[in-house]
Amino acid sequence: MPSLVEISHVSKVYPGASAPALDDVSLCVEPGEVLGLVGPNGAGKSTLLGILLGLIPRDSGSVQIAGHDLDRERSALRRVCGLAPQELGFYPSLTVTENLAFYAGVAGLGGELRRQRMQFAIEAVHLQGYLGLRSARLSGGLKRRLNLALSLLHAPRILLLDEPTVGVDTQSRRCILQVIRDLCSQGQTVIYTSHYLDELEQICDRLAVIDQGRILREGRLADLLGEADQTLRIGLRRPPRDAQRSALVNQFGADLVFDAQGLQLRTRQPLEALDSLRAQGLELRTIQYGEGRLEDLLLRLSTAAAAP
């Protein structure tokens, strides 16, 4: 089966910028898959989403979504995409129902179809009890749910969620994640960006780690977490001297990262690695191996990418 989204060698440099916002990025998203885009601020996530939707022009590369080429069939391509933007793209003085009816109307939905799609969106995000309330009076979490509902109205084949839980409390966040999980279980394809790594761990099938405009690592979540599990975290009694640092970098290369507490080392032979560290005269305070989290992997990849 062909990929639903195919991004090939896409690059983008903003006018006046010294570094590219995107640098030869290639990605695929399969039907029914949830792809998480993760990376620090300014990594290029929003630029990539903007290019996917034709909102930001790219310098090179190609984009195809559901068989539609971005350059030739932009209107058709937009019809198959639904965006829940970071900003709340609705009208605060209108009620929940009025906002839904408005966006359904401008999406060209009328009559029974409009009623059905509105009903689906309302039920999908559990907004039944708030339909007559002006959107300005909704809580932060409910606003985020309305934002999500609006992106579902025209039954998009692919849903782009740009930080959909930003600024909401834990309960609302849990609710929104459940809504997204429910949508995914119905086969909805999703591209999801977030700073909250635990969210990505919960709902994504696959992750793409992006930083400085480049895809640093891409793979199934289980594989990436397994990679994080191979990290040896060492707390040191005192920081290593320059000579010790040089010797360790020479020995372990990019697998070694120094942090505030000591160092992290990606290795399949932790015992041999510990011997090497002790041989360099380092005084080890704490030792931890396995049970790695996505955060560790992201930190290591980003640090390595930033190194000269």
Binding site: G54, R79, L83, L88, F90, S93, Y103, A104, G105, S151
Partner: protein
Amino acid sequence: MTMLFALVRKELLILARDGHGLAVLFLMPAVFILIMSLALRDAMDPSAPPPTDYIWVDQDGGPQAERLAEILAGRKNLGRSISSPRHGAVPAALAGGEAHFGVQLLPGLEQGISAPGTAQRPLAIVFVAPRVPPAVRELFIGEMRGALAVIRAEYVLADELGLSPADARLMQSQLHPDSIALRETLALAGPETAPPNATQQSVPAWIVFAMFFVVLPIATSVLTERETGSLQRLSLLNIGPARLLAAKVPAYYLVNLVQAGLMLLVGVVLVPRLGGQALSLGNSPLGLLMVASGLSFAAIGFALLVAVLARSIVQATTIGGIANLLLGAIGGIMVPKMVMPEIMQTASMASPMSWALEGAWDILLRGGTTLDVLPETLALCGFGGLCYGAASLLFKPEAR
């Protein structure tokens, strides 16, 4: 059609929900019209004396001086006379706003009247307050010269022709320009309704000015939609820029019509109850509606262009406000075109406010009909259409 209907309905709903905004849109122009009509009440009223109060300092004290004071007191163009014993106090009194003019009658008036050609010094000194307009100053000087000419004529009739003082006055009164009858009539396109008054003159100008301020809510609406991401979401639903902008026209056209209606209502009903002159709406309600519609389309088109060009709400409201002031200044809203130099009168033709004002005056002042206002209406609609077209071309709804 579903799409456009949804867009228009949304604009109407948002406007209807903004009670404070609507109150400002409707009440402020109405209050403005009320204030301006009352403030300018006397400016166009022929029965109201111009600002010509004067301080009278009689240093002559003779019968000719008394006669001169009597003549001046009888002139309807002059205000009240305030007698003062000291001429030195006149400049300070004028600077303090007690009067507009001062007349210091010098000793030796009779001698000066009897031999005007040999007089080496003036008969009187006229002091003029600095803020008195040139036309009023000319009027006062003319009245003074006229009164002195009457005294001189009476002297000649009595002294050189030997008439008794009573006969001399009678003869003089028959020779006075006031004794010659003239009929003054208004040049109207249609049947005469009522003579134009201050309300009639000023209300159209301020209606035109106020309606152009629709730039503020329209620009705020467009830029708020941009900031909240609504425009981006709409553009992702393939709503083109022309349609997005067109959807704003019906709602703000209604706003403009209600604004104009309220302002006219204030002129017709409220101003006369507060002591001003009532506004007469002329003989062509349809013509008035045509001008108001053309004006509204021009104002909305201009507002859309400003909204598209501006990068922020602050920028839009500043640009829109200043542009309105400039269009108003050029278009004869603040300064009547008839008092402008020729080059400025020509320049005023470039302002759509000038076209709208001419159209409104066609109906309200000149008794015109729909045919008379057709050129102005078409020009206003054309201006609005051009602005809308330019705005549609420049509008990038998806841009942040």
